[in-house]
Symmetry: C2
Subunit: 273 residues, 2 copies
Amino acid sequence: MHFSKKFKQALRETDSHLVVGLDTDISKIPMFLQSEVNPVAAFNDLVIEATKEYVCGYKLNIAFYERGPEAGFAAIRSTLAAIPENLITIADAKRGDIENTTELYAKAFLDDFGFDSVTVQPYMGQDSARPFLRRKNKFVWMLALTSNYGANDFQFLKVGRQPLWEIIVEKAVSWNDQKIGFVMGASHTRELEKITKDLPETPLLIPGIGAQKGSLEKTINSLNHSLFVINQSRSIIYSAPKAENAEEFKSITGEAAQKARDEINGFLMLKKK
Amino acid sequence: MHFSKKFKQALRETDSHLVVGLDTDISKIPMFLQSEVNPVAAFNDLVIEATKEYVCGYKLNIAFYERGPEAGFAAIRSTLAAIPENLITIADAKRGDIENTTELYAKAFLDDFGFDSVTVQPYMGQDSARPFLRRKNKFVWMLALTSNYGANDFQFLKVGRQPLWEIIVEKAVSWNDQKIGFVMGASHTRELEKITKDLPETPLLIPGIGAQKGSLEKTINSLNHSLFVINQSRSIIYSAPKAENAEEFKSITGEAAQKARDEINGFLMLKKK
């Protein structure tokens, strides 16, 4: 199924715009899981069990899985196997290289692991995205305006009358308007307003809420379409650091996810009035 | 030892500006190695034995090690262990993310694996480089003007009077002028001329010769300093596809590396006249 279709279906079926980021740091895993054979995998399983009713999908930042990589990559596999099939999966790899090399990243993340989609760096241009776009039912989230402080270094540079991020968006859409969406940080509300107006059918992945302290209400109010997911990680997956067993962990973590989903939906409903 | 010092020493001691790219594709490994427990590791060992007298260092593009990742990452470890200590090592990872996340990449590549240096994407700005720069004896090769066709999409965009790549170089040097060098594709001779004139102490990693068909002579002639390495991969490591045993493989591969090193040095000497 084309990602676009899967995405819209997931948004509808789950009634959720929340993506939980499984950015699992082994040092933050509760004590009761530390003795597991693969604590990261076990932790992720519990998070998924606790939150799957409340989310549209899951995002794994690959950096968290490259240390002790043998165990890390095994954890990716088992985590993906635990995610319900109708939910979207994002490999937050932020990769980009010459075409032949990017083909290998595409094989690894989209073919072998089987993620639905992947985040991609724009700097090296079209051939660094093409291998990902070649896969029929897959999707690229191109970095456009990121949520970190360093976004100010280059992303707002004026090229003629337009900021760099906007030129990147226009260019990327010209390569493939069906299979490319963009990463736009939650605090960039003016720009979110513009991109959702100019590109009403283009999905957005929005990080920067939660631990990164964006204002959810302002973000939601800036959006002119609803093909978006909001990523939250630490504020959900680490909401139960002192949990002493699986039931307690799932109860607290599930509640955090439910609250996050409801908060997003609440602001969406307020908008409609 | 500071990378800068190690780098200069290596250039001097080896009398070589050649870096061999260990971009090892298991499907291109000669038959006689296919039955090894870890063919990629075995192949790399032979390439290193064959070429270590002729190179300044080795570069591993991490994409080649992320498929069948368990074996891939084990190959990285054994390969690094086989590289003589005075040669420079480059993790061609082209990573970049928010600071907390980039810290994990820095731990993985610079601390755990122990690479001397790493390639980094500029788009997310300073905090996406900072964790790499924090490591005392390590070094960042920031992408500036890449060797692929997609370089034309964004890297030459005019910001005021300057192209984007140049703004990135200036900005990066302002963060840390001791520990940042740049990736500049071999065919960009005009820009190589400029950057080596403006920044006479800033190391350059130059891909795009060999299989990517740049003109070595033109490239060498454009350089105004000698703190550079030229990366060649496929034209060296795959020069002996039909080799039937280790001795034959090493003989042919070693010759290819020697020839490449001598060619670079030959053009350098011609320049001095």
